[in-house]
């Protein structure tokens, strides 16, 4: 019941939103819808957390062996919660920025939310693919309708790029499907069928899937769409993209790659992690030299996602739990960063670090909130990201049998913590500290709405930072089952 609502509410409200001309109305309508969704997802966590409310199966395309089956497992809970929180935050924080054809804008936003929810909930490969694409289309329109001056080309590149990836994934899905005994797309039969495949088949299937997810996350060297897209899209969409959408790739890895192709994941995991870690250092180094705030954050995001990717492939309880919680934290933090960046851009019409400075004097609140979020983003203890990264790192480092890979990845990824500190602190310094420049002479501080949004984020940051156990408990079981499914040692025995 709950999952269906989570998809249906944004979908229906979104479609409805097309038919309103009144901007104020549609704005509040969207906010209302997103808050409703949030309420539902919280209900799913609390009152209706019983299994029978969290599942829904109904026949659909039965001749194809597919069915409309959605389920809220631990990971789904977290990611849906993230999505459900993200959208109200976005709507609140962009309350003052006005869009032409607002109805289309908000409708598309809600549709993308529906798509995302679907991706996180789908327990049927075909359904998963459907939502995977459907989440993309609205974002495509959002970016190329309301984006910056180079928006069309950039977004187009983004679209084609991800489209190629998803098509490759489609082949993989079809192949596994063709080899499943009961010719069904259901996740269970996928787990059975995939594990039964030979190593060679698994290998290239692995790459078919991985490329799709790698493009989405993105992982080096499939990342080049990302900085441009983040830079060009309207910030609200960038928030969706970077805060929630990249998690699609991670979810794909965890739910649709590890357990489906365990042997390949085991044998090629290091390769993938190698790409990820290269990307981390690469992105961090580039981020240091960025002058455009949006691009800087974009590259930093690549680094963070890379870490999560490595953690996933280390196939280890600590790491996996770390990823679970970090997916949520990263989403929250980066949205917070975008909110402030949006404020700055709206006020000064520039994102160039070199043109900013000294904001802290006139806008202390903005400065403090931004600093908190930025420091959370570089995983300072007692903030949310620390827990995630700590777990991921100790997972990557491995338990008992420390291979040279473990140490290598840990150290290299660890370097990125330092680099992250460098570019983040530089960003803070260049934006907020130093003396004011002509441009920033008369900045006004955050308005109530943004203060509200940022306040919520800060609260979450500290809550998750001090008492992460709440979340860890939610995802505990799913992590266990994933690991159990993707454990290759029994297979290697036979």
């Amino acid at each position: 019941m709950i999952p269906v609502l989570l998809i249906a509410i944004p979908l229906v409200t979104g479609l409805a939103a097309f038919f309103s001309r009144n901007e104020k109305l549609v704005r509040s309508w969207a906010l209302f819808s997103s808050i409703l969704t949030l309420a539902i997802s919280i209900l799913g966590l609390t009152i209706f957390s019983d299994a029978k409310y969290l599942e829904h199966h109904s026949a659909w395309m039965s001749t194809l062996g597919s069915s409309f089956s959605v389920k809220l497992d631990g990971m789904g809970q977290i990611l849906c919660l993230l999505t459900a929180i993200a959208f109200p935050l976005i709507f609140i924080s962009t309350w003052h920025s006005s869009y032409k054809k607002a109805n289309n804008f908000f409708a598309l936003m809600l549709l993308s939310q529906a798509g995302l929810m679907g991706v996180f909930l789908a327990m049927d490969a075909l359904l998963f693919y459907f939502f995977w694409e459907l989440a993309l289309i609205p974002v495509y329109f959002l970016c190329s309708q309301w984006g910056g001056e180079k928006r069309i080309a950039v977004t187009f590149k983004f679209f084609i790029y991800t489209f190629v990836g998803s098509l490759l994934m489609l082949i993989g899905i079809l192949y596994v499907y063709a080899h499943s005994q009961d010719h069904s797309f259901s996740i269970e039969s996928f787990y059975k069928a995939g594990a039964a495949l030979g190593h060679k088949e698994q290998t290239w299937l692995f790459w078919l899937f991985f490329v799709a997810f790698a493009i989405k996350m993105p992982i080096f060297p499939f990342h080049t769409w990302q900085p441009d897209t983040y830079e060009q899209s309207p910030t609200a969409t960038t928030m969706v993209l970077s805060g929630v959408m990249v998690k699609m790739g991670l979810l794909g890895l965890i739910r649709w790659l590890l357990p489906v192709l365990p042997v390949a994941a085991y044998s090629w995991g290091n390769m993938a992690s190698g790409m990820a870690v290269t990307g981390m250092i690469y992105a961090s180094l580039i981020a240091i030299r960025q002058n455009d705030i949006k691009r800087l954050v974009a590259y930093s995001s690549i680094a963070h996602i890379g870490l999560m990717c490595i953690a996933v492939f280390s196939e280890n309880k600590l790491a996996l739990q770390g990823v679970m919680i970090q997916m949520f934290n990263h989403g929250i933090n980066i949205i917070g960063l975008w909110i402030v960046i949006e404020l700055i851009e709206r006020q000064f019409g520039t994102r160039k670090l070199s043109e900013l400075g000294g904001l802290a004097q006139k806008a202390p609140a903005m400065a403090i909130l931004f600093v908190i979020i930025a420091l959370a983003n570089i995983a300072l203890p007692l903030t949310n990201a620390f827990v995630g990264e700590f777990l991921m790192f100790s997972g990557i480092f491995g338990s008992n049998d420390i291979t040279e890979y473990n140490i290598l990845f840990t150290v290299l990824a660890g370097l990125c913590i330092i680099l992250a500190a460098i570019y983040t602190l530089n960003m803070i310094r260049k934006i907020f500290y130093g003396d004011t420049v002509a441009l920033t002479a008369n900045v006004q501080d955050v308005k109530l709405s943004e203060k509200l949004a940022l306040g919520i984020i800060v609260v979450l940051i500290f809550w998750m930072g001090v008492y992460p156990q709440a979340v860890l408990n939610i995802t505990n079981d799913i992590s266990d089952s994933i690991l159990k499914l993707s454990d290759v040692h029994p297979m290697l025995k036979k």
Binding site: T63, Y129, I137, I171
Partner: protein, 456 residues
Amino acid sequence: MNVLILSAILGIVILFSGIYLKQKSNVRAIAIVGMAGLLLCNIWEMSSASFFHVNTEGMMRFDRFALLFISIILFSTLIYFVLSAKDMEKVGIHYAEYFALIFFILCGVVLVASFKSLLILFLGIEIISIPLYILTGSDKRNLKSNEASLKYFLMGAFSTGLMLMGITLIYGATGTFNVEQIQFTAEKPGVLPIAGMMLLLFSMAFKVSAAPFHFWTPDVYDGAPTVFTSFMATIVKAAVFIGFIRLFDETFGTFKEQWRLWIAIITVATLFIGNITAVFQQSVKRMLAYSSIAQAGFMLLAIFAMNSDAKEGILIYAAAYCLATIGIFAVLTKMSDYTFDGFNGLARQQPVVAALTTIFFLSLAGIPLTAGFLAKFYMLKAALSAGSNLWLVIFAVLMAAVSAYYYFRVIQAMYFKDGQATIQASPFFKGTLVILAAVIILLGMFPNLLLYWYYF
């Protein structure tokens, strides 16, 4: 059988109505109503109630596959009439004749869809082709139209020659034209049937405009009056495909291995040339011509796979492709400027039409929840389940991505570029488009709506 006879009669009726009815709208009305009637009769026949009982001496068989396919064709044609019958007036004065010819073509389609004897196949192909030569050239003053029809005619006749030689060689080997009796039991039959098969392959490839026999397509589709291009590119192409798949399934099914490779090569070539060449086109009409080649490439996957999935798939593909393309052409026909820039800013002037056109293009590009996705999905599924030929599937998929590139150029033009493009679309027109889009999406969500008829 119903359709064959009735549409022939309808053709005649329309011819005379052209003489006696001065009002063009009446002619149109007769055509549309007649088409609807045909559709009904055919559906009736599917529930095993044929009006006529003709002994064809086993030269034709109206099995479910054929009938269902014919209904798809009839439905598409109906939609086509409703959307663009009015635009035929622009072409020339022989308004009624155009309809008549189209009805005759439908007879040919029926033949091709239901043939059991190579003779019928031959006749069917000819009955389809000859009126098409005429329709292509129907805009007599327009040199492009002339050129197109002459090119089409010459090359078509040439391919007819090839086909006949093929049939002859097969006859020489087997002594019959009847598909039932042509039984190549041997895994590798003699040279004669192989040569014949190859020649037939070439001519069929020509008719479905598969590379390297596709050269006529862009020129002809570009030169022909847009209304008729729409008809040719969709309904006729799909029809010939059914002939193609039936021929190779029933006649040459026993020695797949001999022709698989060639089909594969042709598929790759078609996909490549169709998609790649479409990228750089400046005129949407010509782009659609190339895209039709590309789509043919995807349909060829069905022939390559030649299994139950392929059969279902080709049905869905035919429906999806025809409907979407007809819709696009219907809009295109009303445009003043066929270039991509001609679409700039259509979304501002005509939001509804733009949105629907977008849906059609999404369907062509194969975005989920549209029929186009399921069509491609079936094709890939069939090809994969046909055995180890992943390279082909991956190639097809990459080409599909390329196709998204040029389809989305139009969407970009309509939505994100500034311009004054507009069309005068009557509410009726819009309504029909809406229905069309609805059908496409419904089909995309519930393919069984269609396949139901195939199985039960």
